[in-house]
């Protein structure tokens, strides 16, 4: 985790905005290989948007080949409502830069089928090649997007009911009338954020101090969902001095020292070049131009990939390597639910099963009959899913 402490909110915002501009420019996005940016709303990132707009107007960055995905949106308020996140993004960012509307993705809180909207959103992220940089703000209770305390750290884009405290806090934007505040929202999951190749989190102000302490100094805990950031190989936190109030002096000094030493050595903490520039070769397209209304797949057991995340595997792998088995359903659009798409085909995910019953090692043949069914049958059962993965 890279951790930057700046004097005040403006300096922290400028740091993040500069970083994003540098990332985009170094990436050199093209129409076929865009930079995919995940974006938050709220008061925290306002300063970042302001600087980004300034830099766009100064000609330092172009958003022509940038694709954006927003974190969340309320359910049940009109899209052009002054408090909708569509309006927020339009007002503070999209209307001022040269981003094309086709490249903007925001969850539709008025979709007829909200569940399908979520599935489709994940599919769109996949289709865009995954998110290169997810910018996020930190909630007072350590939430990220609308993943409030208790959200699964393996969660994906879904419908969320807002906590009472959030509704109360939001009522200031809705004439202080609790009845007008949306009670539900669509949000990306913690897992969705963590799958981005890089996550940049901002925490500004003393109100965020406790959450920052929990997420940085304490363990991974679903009550402070942003603490899952500790499992991400390329995360960055940028905060102002006020937000460090609850941190140990040692922690603050440690991260400040690291930054100073690195700078003194002329060595910025940077990402591996593979991630900074993206893959040189463009992954074979898996995009179909139109998205048919997605069907809900039967729930799949999700093994949290958090547990597999190590810095060594440049996690998550951007491209699905060409696989003899197409990752397509017969209808030709993406399978979004399968673990298989992240599996590299050159080797199996785990050692092959060698059927071997403990019972066979027994001396007494009578025991053999008293134990489990025939190993041949078992093997047959096991081999069916296994071969689909490893073939």
């Amino acid at each position: 985790m890279r951790f930057f402490i700046r004097e005040d909110a403006a300096a922290a915002s400028a740091h993040v905005a500069n970083y994003i501009v540098d990332r985009i420019n170094h990436f050199g996005p093209t129409p076929a290989h865009p930079f995919v940016l995940g974006l938050p709303t709220g008061s925290t990132p306002l300063g970042v948007y302001k600087v980004l707009v300034e830099k766009y107007k100064a000609g330092e960055v172009s958003f022509e080949n940038v694709v954006t995905f927003n974190m969340d949106e309320y359910i049940g308020i009109p899209r052009d409502h002054p408090e909708s996140y569509h309006t927020f993004m339009w007002k503070h960012f999209f209307s001022h830069v040269n981003i094309h509307p086709c490249n903007v993705h925001i969850l539709d809180g008025n979709a007829p089928n909200l569940e399908a909207e979520c599935v489709e959103y994940e599919a769109k992220i996949q289709a865009a090649g995954g998110i290169d940089l997810f910018l996020a703000g930190m909630g007072e209770d350590g939430h990220i997007a609308f993943n409030e305390p208790g959200s699964s750290l393996a969660s994906r884009t879904r419908v969320k009911t807002l906590a009472y405290g959030t509704i109360l806090a939001n009522s200031r934007f809705f004439d202080n009338d609790m009845d007008k505040v949306p009670k539900m929202a669509l949000t990306v999951g913690v897992q969705t954020v963590l799958e981005a190749r890089e996550v940049v989190v901002m925490a500004l102000g003393a109100r965020k101090a406790l959450a920052l302490q929990r997420c940085v100094e304490q363990g991974v805990n679903h009550m402070w969902t942003l603490s899952a950031l500790q499992l991400h190989p390329h995360s960055m936190i940028v905060c102002d001095e006020d937000a460090t109030l609850e941190l140990q002096v040692k922690t603050v000094k440690y991260f400040k020292d690291i930054e100073q030493v690195a700078r003194a050595q002329g060595f910025e903490q940077i990402l591996p070049s593979k991630i900074r520039t993206g893959p040189a070769t463009v992954p074979t397209t898996i995009v179909t131009d139109e998205f048919p209304a997605p069907t809900i797949h039967s729930p799949q057991p999700t093994t949290s990939r958090l547990l597999r995340a190590t810095p060594a595997t440049e996690y998550p792998v951007r491209s699905r390597s060409p696989s003899p088995e197409p990752n397509f359903t017969p209808r030709g659009h993406l399978r979004v639910d399968s673990d298989a798409q992240y599996t590299v085909s050159s080797r199996s995910a785990s050692p092959d099963l060698v059927p071997d019953r403990m019972a066979e090692r027994m001396e007494d043949p009578a025991l053999l009959r008293r134990l489990t069914p025939n190993p041949e049958q078992q093997q047959l059962l096991n081999s069916v899913p296994r071969t689909t993965i490893t073939a």
């Binding site: 996005p29 093209t30 129409p31 076929a32 290989h33 865009p34 022509e64 080949n65 940038v66 694709v67 899209r79 052009d80 569509h86 309006t87 339009w90 007002k91 999209f94 209307s95 001022h96 040269n98 094309h100 509307p101 086709c102 490249n103 903007v104 925001i106 289709a127 865009a128 090649g129 463009v282 074979t284 397209t285 995009v287 131009d289």
Partner: protein, 526 residues
Amino acid sequence: MPSLVRSASPRHNGITKLTNCRLVRGDELVWDDVWVSSATGKIIRSQAAFYDELIMPDEVIDLGGRIVSPGFIDCQLNGAYGFNFSTLLDDMTQYGKQVRDLNRKLVRTGVTSYIPTVTSQTSDLYKGVLPYLGPSGSSRRPHDGAESLGAHVEGPFLSPTKNGIHNRSVLRVASSFADLEEMYGAANINPRCPNPEVEVHSPSSSSSSSSNNSSTSLPSSPVSSSSFSSASSSDAQAARNSTIPVKMITAAPELGAMTRLIPELTSRGIVVSVGHSEATYEEASAAVSAGATMITHLFNAMRPLHHRNPGIFGVLGTNTTTPSTTSSSISTAAAAVPAVATSQRQQQQPQQPQPQQQQPGQKRRRPYFGIISDGIHLHPTTVKIAWHAHPQGLILVTDAMHMVGLPDGRYAWTNGEGEHYIIKKGSVLELEGTGGTIAGSAVTLLECVNNFLHWTGATLPQALKAVTATPAAMLGVQGVKGSLEAGADADLVVLSEAAGEEGRTELVVDEVWKFGVRVFERKKLV
């Protein structure tokens, strides 16, 4: 392979985004963008266009912090560039051409809509010219220039003692609506049918037919009813408005049956303005209660404010009907005059409420009022007093004669009674041989705005409101004209602030946009 990023669509959508500018929104200047479409001629809701139609503007214009105002609306313009609306030509087709020429020149001053005004004239002249002066914006062609919102007939039902430079011999007294029809031509103040009593009061008869069935004698087809839908309570009435050449009538309410005729006119969507009048405060109040919503060039050609009878000016001073001491005189005035007529009317128009009849003490709308801030018609302090009396009602008008836009000199002019000459010196017009009678003005609306700014200390948006939103509301076209909100017609003026004499700020018209297209751009001084 298909690219993941779709670049801006190559097809042209005619949308221009004006950015880095300050918009006149209400009483404030707001840093914001405005998106205009030359395809629809309207200001578009940019956020919806972005998310729904996935469109980007064809062109982005950085205005460098300049001010964007809605296009100006002049509610009293007698002519310009040598052409007087109160003129009968031998070949009246030339009249239409002259009007179109004027429109193209006038728009360069920032006036994108106006009310061509015809002074007190003979019936023949009204009948001849009014068909050419009706609403002209229905074709929505940007390069036609300024757009007429309908004609203003300033007379001839005026007080002979407050005639100004109007020819006293043509002034008349109306005793019935038929007198008005006879004077202006029935087709010019009625939607379609020469018999108003049948036509206007038949429920919904004209809503669809009249808009499709414009009289062939009119040079202009009606404005689509949708663009006027916000203007009036009913669509039927909106459709009627659009076909009537006359939009506004200035009359002296104390004469003849004029006060009683006001509801007849307003029911047709015609604005009744009190002016050139000897009306007392009570008479003016009765006219306002009956539905008059405007005062023509306040202070000029009317009784001055007297402390015991404040005259027409007095109706700005209160937003309730008069207190009990004088309410009796009003109620008698209001009740006695239309006693016969209303009983007839009510049989034919049961659906027409009588909104103007109000109880004493109840709030009534104060009228709008025109102010000529040319520095000659009114003392600066007078303008300031009027503004403070009723800031929401103040409308700056030029009352400019056809000499506006021409060099100084001596110009022939007739009010139908012999040849006269008007001497133009700058923006001052005097009738020759009268020892200084003011003969209208020769100011531009922008000069009026600049004077008003200087004299009253009003903020820029407040001053610009007096030539945009306020006149639009007076004419019932709020939200369509005089507005920068989405859905309004994209008539814009780009203004820059220049340092004038004595350090005062002068607005300068840099660009004029009509229906989403730039039709004028000031030459850059190199």
